[in-house]
């Protein structure tokens, strides 16, 4: 039976099964792991291979220059480049999370390559101290590296995205450590990386310890518990456990702060293993020349023999084993798989799997099996689905899924999407596992990695089509893929003419609604294809993205047009300042003069902060009146300035400014009024200045002409008032109002009366009446009320000073019923007055009726 052969490939460690399927036979030729330094990225990532310069190897007719070659996990050559980097021996090499290959050389320089073997500028450095004393060893994690120099100092770059070299605390050791390991920042208490150094020489047990070094402190851990120095250490994936090999041939598993020993097991050899690695979380692998030993918490270790060198590549759920000829994956057999394929298993899942087999062979036993497991059918289906997910073999995936689907038909309450979902995942996994792509992800790794990161890796490796298909298939946003493709396409298509390339690009870009054409255009511009950029940016619907780009490719006029069109004044300002800075003033003025919004915005800004420049602008465009207004305004500000104290000759500059404005106004016919006004203003200031000198009172400057007249009268200086009147041709009407009110202010009733008799006032006696009433001088008011010509005015005036009878009479004279009514309301409280109005109104309406 098929089941037997599946389980036959498993090995039992303690109470768990392990399997080691081959993922790929390696496609590469003439790669000998023994001669090379290898860096393998986790999550089925690429391999970097370079000849090891610390080993003496025989060159088989090849160049003495070393080559850095990048392979996919299936051994497919991705890219290569000649290694010509100075700085001494290559100490360490590793892939970061975003698939940048980081290479540290002896003098502390860090070279970085992308997956296309292109050097990423600039090179980083671990600092001057590293340069002076060579780097001896280094340890990597996700996005960082720690180096130890020959003088036993530690340096660290915590994040390659933000590469700053930091020196860690001095571990205070003389001899180089025997081994080194790091705990990733995300698992330490401090949030900074922690370096573990195994120190001590073989003889003295007390000396042996692990030194934990951080940025700001050193701690000595372990001590007695270790019973001698450690030869090799490795930290588990979650940073909690430390597996180590002691000088006397023991495997120790401790907590990573070395406070407790979890497992301690004797090995047959005291020679430290070449490689030590965690296999998932429940086994440790030790590799000596041609022997791989797997140790669990208990029971006999499992031994694998290899006659060629291997590299252990730890993954989250197992270890990949790379040899010259093949890539294998050593993994604990998942529980669902165990339940189905263990020899003699009678679990529901195994019976379901068996039932499918019978069903295929048209055997009635299928039904019997099903009936046996009826109650636990859902869990059987679930186990089949789960086991299918963990399979690398496509035909076995299919069989398991068929079993699941067969079982599902008989159970109503199984979550139907499960199978479909699993099919989706497996399709994606199988696609990326293919030889050409060479990413052998397990389902657990895939889930941890997330689909979007996987897509990111695919496009990074220029597998755009597959990435696009996957994101489409999974219903994810395709924008990232299309965008990356477009940029890559532009970089790679130097020979294709702009128009053709544009068409190719547009054809794909239109797939995504809302894609940023501006970003693609910016890339085109960076690649020196300004014209293509201009063509692309045309298609950008978002003005806020379009305009800045147009500016950066030098299309200022288009930018200004687009900004104006979209109505966002902020963008117009952006363009405005850009042009302002770039062009000569006159040219700048010319540009904005033609565009109203830009011009108006410029004026608004300049009014606040660039006054002089604004004048230049108005002069250059011939808007002399605007310059004049500015000057006039300046004259006003001069006044507000405390330095220009009143009565001092500092009025001189003000008057000069106003006169300048007057002349500018006079240049254009339309502004004669303003010109005249400016002239008068200057004249007024001079006159007020004189008045202040003669009266020795600083109360005139900056009051209006009318106020000046009033002030003069109030001060009793009638001659001066008259002078102002004639000087500024003040009309008789205004003169009368002003004088009457001024006289009332100082309560000079005699003078008022005299004034009323000078001649018949040109505006009648109303001003006199009003002034008196407002001053609450009834006696004075009565003098003038009878002289009012309009009976209605008369009535209201009487009413205002409370003379009901007289008011009523005047109102009756005017024959105005509405007025009578209103007056009655005014006198409402006074019953006697009220009745007067009623009689009068009755008489009126009676008249009207007759």
């Amino acid at each position: 039976m098929a089941n037997v052969s599946v389980a036959a490939e498993w090995q039992l460690l303690y109470n768990r099964y392990y399997r080691k399927p081959e993922l790929y036979p390696m496609r590469w030729k003439h790669v000998d792991l023994a001669r090379n330094k290898i860096a393998a990225a986790p999550f089925g990532g690429p391999l970097a291979v370079i000849r090891d310069d610390s080993k003496i190897v025989q060159l088989h007719g090849e160049s003495a220059l070393r080559k850095l070659r990048l392979f996919s996990s299936s051994g497919h050559l991705l890219a290569d480049t000649v290694w010509r980097n100075p700085g001494g021996r290559l100490i360490g090499m590793s892939w970061t999370d975003d698939h940048t290959l980081v290479c540290v050389v002896q003098d502390g320089t860090v070279y970085r390559y992308d997956v296309h073997a292109r050097l990423i500028e600039p090179n980083l450095s671990l600092g001057k101290e590293c340069f002076e004393s060579n780097v001896a060893d280094c340890a990597f994690w996700g996005n960082g590296v720690v180096c130890i120099t020959e003088s036993n100092q530690l340096f660290c770059i915590a994040d390659f995205k933000n590469p700053n070299a930091v020196k860690l605390a001095d571990p205070g050791i003389v001899e180089p450590p025997r081994c080194m390991a790091v705990i990733e920042p995300q698992y330490t208490v401090s949030g900074n990386v922690e370096v573990l150094l195994g120190v001590g020489d073989g003889g003295e047990e007390e000396d042996a310890a692990v030194i934990a070094v951080e940025e700001d402190g050193v701690q000595r851990l372990g001590g007695e518990m270790l019973r001698g120095p450690l030869q090799k250490m490795v930290v588990s994936r979650d940073g909690k456990w430390l597996a180590s090999f002691t000088h006397d041939g023991r495997l120790l598993v401790t907590t990573s702060d070395l406070t407790g020993v979890i497992i301690e097991r004797e090995c047959e050899s005291a020679l430290p293993p070449e490689q030590l690695a965690w296999c998932g979380m429940d086994a440790v692998l030790l590799y000596w020349d041609d022997m791989l030993l797997m140790m669990g918490p208990d029971g006999e270790p499992v031994t694998y023999l290899y006659d060629e060198p291997i590299i252990l590549i730890p993954e989250c759920d197992g270890v990949r084993i790379l040899s010259n000829a093949s890539m294998e994956f050593l993994q604990r057999v998942p529980d669902s798989t165990v339940s189905i394929f263990t020899i003699g298993s009678t679990s529901p899942a195994a019976l379901l799997y068996d039932a499918l087999d019978h069903f295929d062979r048209r055997s009635a036993k299928a039904d019997e099996n099903l009936r046996l497991i009826r109650s636990s059918l859902p869990e059987a289906v679930e186990a089949c689905v789960d086991a299918a997910g963990h399979e690398f073999d496509v035909s076995r995936q299919r069989t398991l899924l068929r079993a699941a689907s067969y079982g599902q038909a008989f159970c109503s309450n199984f979550h139907r999407d499960r199978i479909q979902e699993m099919c989706k995942i497996l399709r994606v996994l199988n696609a990326v596992r293919s030889f050409e792509i060479g990413i052998p992800l397990s389902i657990q790794q895939y889930k941890l990695l997330t689909p979007s990161v996987l897509i990111g890796r695919l496009i990074n490796a220029h597998q755009h089509l597959l990435a696009l298909r996957i994101s489409e298939y999974l219903g994810m946003n395709q924008e990232v893929v299309i965008m990356h493709w477009a940029c890559a396409k532009i970089t790679a298509s130097l020979a294709i003419p702009d128009a053709t390339l544009l068409e190719i690009l547009l054809d794909k870009l239109k797939v995504c609604k809302g894609i940023s054409y501006a970003a693609v255009a910016a890339h085109a511009d960076k690649n020196g294809r300004r014209k293509l950029a201009a063509l692309l940016v045309e298609h950008e619907p978002r003005s806020s993205k379009q305009v800045p780009l147009l500016l950066s490719i030098g299309e200022e006029d288009t930018a200004l047009m687009k900004a104006t069109e979209c109505g966002d004044t902020d963008l117009v300002y952006l363009v405005l300042f850009h042009i302002w800075q770039k062009r000569q003033p006159l040219e700048f003025f010319g540009t904005i003069q033609a565009r109203q919004l830009a011009r108006d915005l410029f004026i608004t800004y300049a009014r606040c902060y660039k006054h002089e420049f604004l004048k230049d602008f108005f002069l250059s465009t011939g808007q002399l009146q605007d310059v004049a207004f500015l000057l006039w305004k300046e004259s006003w500000e001069l006044e507000k300035n405390p330095m220009a104290s009143k009565g001092s000759p500092l009025h001189g500059p003000r008057i000069k400014l106003i006169e300048k404005a007057q002349n500018l106004f006079a240049e254009t016919k339309e502004h004669t009024f303003e010109s005249k006004a400016a002239e008068e203003h200057a004249k007024l200031l001079r006159l007020q200045h004189e008045l202040e000198v003669t009266t020795k009172q600083a109360i005139f400057v900056d009051s209006s002409i009318s106020d000046t007249i009033r002030t003069c009268i109030v001060l009793g200086n009638h001659r001066a008032a008259l002078k102002v009147k004639t000087e500024f041709k003040v009309s008789e009407k205004r003169w009368y109002w002003l004088k009457v009110f001024a006289l009332a202010t100082i309560k000079d009733w005699a003078a008022l009366e005299k004034f009323s008799k000078e001649k018949k006032p040109p505006i009648g006696y109303r001003p006199f009446v009003e002034a008196c009433i407002e001053a609450d001088e009834k006696g004075e008011a009565i003098k003038y009320i009878p002289k009012l010509a309009d009976p209605r005015e008369k009535a209201e005036s009487y009413a205002r000073i409370g003379m009901a009878k007289e008011a009523a009479d005047a109102a009756a004279q005017s024959k105005d019923g509405e007025l009578l009514g209103r007056l009655k309301l005014t006198f409402a409280q006074n019953a006697a007055a009220s009745s007067i109005f009623d009689t009068l109104r009755d008489r009126l309406s009676f008249q009207g009726a007759s």
Partner: protein
């Protein structure tokens, strides 16, 4: 600080918008750790007082200060400037920072722009070489709920910016604000706009929708059915007339600022002489909600009635025996006593103004000008006001009204008035006059006025208005139906088409469009706050109308809208509640800015 208006009865969920604004502000404050000094520009402070309680700010360890030219006095070494992105405010920030530098104070500076950072403002900071010392962020406060049915975009200078300076920034702002509303309430399917700015806003709005589409599938039915955009420029007559509703009059004489009015405590019969006190005015005050929109004449009567009935109840209470439930009712009524006394006091205070002959004369003149029959009488009246040196705003208000209804004044009169104004009030007002001319408010006559036609066609003057039982919006101005609201009335009822001829006589283009791919699915219960509707969409659903006054609105107009909305509900939005002060204020101070 004024009381934050209660928004529970709003026709759309304005509370969520306000909560969002609160949350954003608190996040900004949280991002700056520890004690900090929050420096707010005063105008923005007013807007914030309608958004968030000061106590909540204090909980965030904030010391509050107002931004001015004076250096801030504070021990905090973290300073957050929260300012509108206005160029002139940058000067204050710069002087503050420079002052600290000169004193050797080292502080951490954050500048948050409202509603967004702008290149121009940042350029000022850059030119002052302060850019590197300042962390810049934005606080996207695009609108503030003034009341349950009124939103404000808080753009109090925009009319001047737009009409005089040609700075169209506020149009983008307003489109953005509407777009934000659409994110919450769905794409508004019908757009009607009148006026240059309004049509432009509709255009920008469409652009925004194209650039940043609202996912309409998320929302079942757009909550707002129609947006009506109206330029203030279209109707400059209405804001120049004295508002005669209760709320309008309070504004005319006492100036409502951000939903509250500041008056002498003595007016309210409080003991503290000379002290100012703030009275919040919004719909949370039940009595105010009842009387705010009524003609003042009627308000006085209603208050008297209420007082009398209260007195009656009281006498009944003391003379006859009452059941417990009757007692309860009485006590309930007593609860409204403080509100009643407050409004009776206010109304009394107002009548001291309204009974003045000068005010009555002014009202008379406004009507004469609107009637547009007796040019000479108006001319002489205004001339006399100038000669008497009455307050400039009063004079300009009438003069502008006069100029607008006549499509400008003959050159001779135009120059005469200008000369008399400069002589009477000072030459510095040349700037004001220049601005008024640029905005077309006070200008030389160039064509024949079509005001008479407009007035007649739209029936703007309504004889025999019964202010107590109004049947037309004209009650708010005792006989004049505000042009703006008349237009909106038509727009709601039947769209622009029937009034197209009149629209052509008014400044600016008009537009009517349908947008969004939304299909009219019959859903009846998603709309609320609407009683019997005049505008029914074919399937009979009641519709919500958003009315946007581009350039400001008066309280009387809002009252008129509420009168209409007793029939069809509408949310009013405005750049800023436009009052006489807002209209002229910026112009008066123009030369100093």
């Amino acid at each position: 600080m004024a009381q934050i208006p209660n928004l529970d009865n709003a026709p759309v969920n304005l509370t969520s918008i306000r909560e969002q604004s609160q949350k954003e502000l608190i996040n900004i404050l949280k991002n700056v750790r520890g004690k900090k000094c929050l420096v707010i520009d005063p105008k923005l402070g007013d807007s914030l007082s309608l958004t968030i309680q000061t106590s909540i700010l204090k909980e965030q360890g904030v010391e509050l200060r107002h931004l001015s030219a004076e250096p801030i006095q504070s021990d905090c070494n973290k300073v957050i400037f929260l300012v509108r992105s206005q160029l002139n405010l940058m000067r204050f920030i710069c002087s503050n920072v420079h002052d600290d530098i000169s004193k050797g104070l080292q502080r951490e500076y954050h500048v948050y722009f409202v509603p967004r950072r702008t290149v121009a403002c940042e350029k000022v900071l850059e030119d002052e070489k302060l850019h590197h010392m300042i962390t810049i962020g934005e606080y996207p406060l695009y609108m503030v709920a003034m009341d349950e049915d009124v939103l404000s975009f808080e753009l109090d200078l925009s009319y001047k910016e737009c009409q005089v300076d040609g700075d169209a920034s506020s149009l983008w702002h307003i489109a953005k604000a509407i777009h934000k509303l659409e994110f919450s309430f769905g794409v508004i399917p019908h757009v009607r706009a009148k006026g240059k700015a309004s049509v432009r806003i509709a255009d920008i709005l469409n652009r925004m929708e194209a650039e940043e589409p609202i996912n309409s599938s998320d929302m079942a039915v757009p909550e707002i059915n129609t947006v009506i955009l109206l330029d203030r420029e279209v109707d400059m007559v209405t804001p120049l007339c004295s508002q005669l509703t209760y709320e309008g009059l309070i504004d005319e004489f006492l100036h409502i600022n951000n939903g509250s009015v500041e008056i002498d405590a003595s007016v309210l019969g409080l003991q503290q002489e000379g002290k100012k006190t703030k009275v919040p005015l919004n719909s949370s005050d039940k009595l105010f909600k009842e009387i705010r929109d009524l003609n003042f004449e009627v308000v006085v009567q209603i208050l008297r009635q209420k007082a009398t009935s209260m007195k009656q109840d009281y006498t009944d209470m003391t003379t006859t025996t009452q059941s417990v439930s009757e007692l309860k009712d009485f006590v309930k009524k007593l609860n409204s006593l403080p509100e009643m006394t407050r409004h009776i006091n206010l109304a009394q205070h107002l009548s001291t103004f309204t009974s003045k002959p000068s005010f009555l004369g002014q009202l008379d003149m406004e009507h004469t000008i609107i009637e547009s029959q007796s040019y000479d009488i108006c001319f002489e009246y205004i001339e006399e006001l100038i000669h008497k040196q009455e307050p400039l705003t009063t004079v300009l208000r009438l003069l502008v009204l006069f100029s607008i209804t006549n499509a400008g004044l003959p050159k001779k009169h135009f120059d005469y008035f200008r000369r008399e104004l400069l002589h009477s009030y000072g030459f510095e007002h040349i700037a004001t006059l220049n601005n008024l001319e640029k905005a077309g408010l006070f200008k030389k006559q160039e064509s024949k006025s079509n005001w008479l036609t407009i007035k007649r066609t739209l029936q703007l003057v309504v004889e025999d208005t019964d202010t107590a039982n109004p049947n037309d919006i004209a009650y708010v101005f005792s006989g004049y139906a505000p042009l703006s609201i008349r237009l909106i009335q038509h727009a709601i009822r039947s769209g622009w088409r029937p009034v197209e001829e009149v629209l052509k006589l008014l400044p600016g283009p008009h537009l009517e469009t349908r947008r969004g791919g939304f299909s009219n699915s019959p859903s009846f219960d998603t709309f609320y706050g609407v009683s019997n509707s005049i505008d029914k969409v074919p399937d009979g659903r009641r519709s919500l109308v958003l009315v946007v006054f581009v350039g400001g609105v008066t309280f009387a107009e809002i009252s008129a809208l509420r009168f209409l909305s007793a029939q069809a509900f509408s949310v009013v939005s405005s750049w800023q509640l436009l009052t006489e002060q807002n209209l002229k204020g910026p112009k008066k101070t123009w030369h100093m800015i």
